[in-house]
């Protein structure tokens, strides 16, 4: 199989955005990867290896081989990401590629890994497509997705804002935005909300005022911002600027929802996030042992708490290592088999299943809210609800995930 490790080491490829708008998220992912490598090699305090339900990992590398890694810059561009991944595979002999901070890149690299015959452990990618129509036998996603965000958020929104609401969607005009919009609209409509309008905004927009202004007189009383990263910071800032948070429509307080939160980015919106609900894959303030262990380990090393991106890539690295150990081989097909249907606990989101049919993890999803009185610059979000995995699980043939096929595992 491709890049079978022959020496005493095994090389992993960490492919993250190091330049461009997501560079900070990429940097945080890299930190988590390094931490994971340390832990796998038996250095440091072991972090979540101590809480992980599987006890295969011994701190002696993977299958006795010391873990080494190479890094690359995806620039958040499919092309650059594939070039970088290829160089890791062709030049550095990486047996696994992981990383990414956007769905487009994750899907592109996942496709590449499928062809090249290596395992791809997706990083931050939230589009339904990654494990939906673009799923691949060699690709695995620990992160949650648009559907799960919607499923977790809907009940909370229902409790908070009632069932008689008119929602206005602003959506980043590309695949991730569309899948999220579809998911949220479906979930909220199911509980009785009316969708007033779905407006697509160009990815390159920086000023969303001309999209926000029409919201004022649209009769909507909820604004859903299907934006991520810089788009999200700007659209939220603009929405608050236009006084939407203070607005009262039809006798109801106007509300804003940001379905996918990223704490790193939310910082850019500052006080504007206060009281605004959204979902996230994981948050450092969780009080379970695994999360605490990870925060401690990461925080001690770097001086600040990890982001959800850091958490997911750390988990992915451990999961890969564990699967290799259980399979007793680095052969992608062996590893895939070990991961498929794998149930585990102790990585921060409670009991988790790596579903065999689409390589998506099913675990608890957090609903969070912008904190009113933050005590520090990291303390922006508070968890209002931990939605149990069962509630966000969907059947494999759910229409939002239809099309495409997993195919068969490729070992190169």
């Amino acid at each position: 199989y491709t890049n079978e490790p022959t020496g005493s080491t095994v090389t992993l490829g960490f492919n993250v955005p190091q330049t461009g708008p997501y560079a900070d998220e990429g940097a945080d992912e890299l930190r988590a990867y390094q931490l994971a490598v340390e832990h796998l090699n038996g250095e440091g305090d072991g972090g979540m290896m101590n809480t992980f339900s599987s006890n295969e990992l011994q701190g002696n590398g993977i299958l006795g081989k010391k873990v080494e890694f190479v890094t690359g810059d995806t620039q958040t561009k499919s092309d650059a990401a594939r070039a970088s991944a290829k160089s890791m595979i062709e030049k550095d002999g990486a047996v696994m590629i992981t990383g990414g901070s956007s769905s487009g890149v994750a899907i592109a690299v996942q496709g590449l890994c499928q062809e090249a015959g290596v395992i791809f452990m997706a990083g931050l990618t939230h589009s339904n497509d990654t494990t939906g129509k673009d799923k691949k036998a060699n690709g695995f996603r620990h992160f949650f997705n648009g559907y799960m965000s919607a499923a977790a958020l809907a009940p909370v929104l229902k409790n908070l804002y009632g069932t008689d609401r008119n929602a206005y969607h602003l959506t980043a005009d590309y695949t991730w935005g569309w899948t999220q919009e579809e998911s949220i609209a479906a979930a909220t409509e199911a509980m009785g909300w009316n969708t007033v309008n779905k407006v697509r905004t160009p990815l390159a927009s920086t000023d969303f005022s001309s999209y926000i202004a029409p919201v004022l007189n649209s009769g909507a009383d909820v604004l859903v911002l299907n934006h991520y990263g810089g788009n999200m910071v700007n659209s939220l800032t603009n929405a608050v600027q236009f006084g939407l948070r203070e607005k009262v429509v039809n006798g109801k307080q106007f509300e804003i929802v940001v379905p996918l939160y990223s704490r790193l980015m939310a910082k850019g919106a500052g006080a504007n996030v206060k009281g605004i609900h959204g979902s996230t894959n994981w948050h450092w303030s969780l009080q379970d042992d695994a999360s605490k262990a990870f925060v401690k380990s990461f925080g001690t090393k770097y001086g600040f708490p990890p982001s959800q991106a850091a958490h997911t890539v750390y988990c992915q690295t451990l999961l890969y290592a564990d699967a290799a150990s259980r399979a007793g081989t680095f052969n992608p097909c062996g590893i895939a088999e070990a991961l498929e249907g794998f149930e585990f606990d102790g990585l921060g989101n409670g009991k988790t299943l790596y579903r065999a049919g689409d390589h998506q993890c099913f675990k608890d999803v957090l609903v969070v809210r912008g904190k009113e009185n933050p005590t520090s610059e990291f303390d922006l979000l508070e968890v209002v609800e931990v939605t149990p995995a069962a509630q966000v699980t969907y059947p494999i043939d759910h229409p939002m995930f239809a099309g495409g096929a997993l195919g068969t595992c490729n070992a190169g």
Partner: protein, 340 residues
Amino acid sequence: MDAILLQILNGLDKGSAYALIALGLTLIFGTLGVVNFAHGALFMIGAFCAVTVQRIFNISYETVDESQTDFLGNALVVKTPYIESWFGPQMGGAIIDWAVPLAILFTVPIMIFVGYAMERGLIKHFYKRPHADQILVTFGLAIVLQEVVKYFYGANPIQTPAPEALSGIVNLGAIIGMDIVYPVWRVVYFFFSLVVIGGIFSFLQFTTFGMVVRAGMADRETVGLLGINIDKRFTVMFGIAAAVAGLAGVMYTPINSPNYHMGMDFLVLSFVVVVVGGMGSLPGAVLAGFMLGILESFASMNEIKSLVPGIDQIIIYVVAIIILLVRPRGLMGRKGVMED
């Protein structure tokens, strides 16, 4: 009706940002003839002046609050800005609150210095070089400036809010009996840009400075023969342009949180604005800025979007193409400026 008025207003407001950015660019690009790919970076540096001022105002001393814990479970370190301890929480808080407007004072000299250093150190040697070389050097410079900012401030946006007093909304329609609410700061930005634009116009109109610089562009040699030290004036012009770019940046920060690549986001747009306005024409750049702003606002209206899907994605470019085909030198371009 309200909706249309609101979009016109929004277009003017967007346009004022475009016009202000394009104004700085056209001083360098349309007047000095330097294809300045670092203009976006100047805009970005202006914005980060505000961030820096905010940071400076927030320099804090630390006290340990045993009653709270931080993310690692240790006692929480509470930070209090020195300014607050010096001036009292009330006054100090107000100063911090007004960081962005106060940053203007700080930005102008900084930007003039940046412009001066850039022109003397680098651009000076490129007036006579081909445009292609200018692109390479200014693009290189832009990357470096950007990366330096990224090194110190990270890649994520940084919030720099407007003063509390200026961050609400006003009802502009109240006078005419309509309900047209608009963010105060955006109104401030609009008037601010009018003032800056007016200031630059009168400076170039009522002094011979503009004429000399234009002449120097057309024929440096001859202007030198007439006893004029054109280099000095080019430097001044560059300084002014940098200051305008910087002002556009500082004032923009409360509208959208600045990040290190915000310059690149605006770069293409500002070139389009300047060229559509017509090379060498200041009024052209301003006019084009407002025009594109308004058209962009209209294109993002749902009614228009449902007629022509995706029009808001391409409106700027469609308009640019049409204008350049109908009017060979843009709206108000002068003959012979950068046509070869």
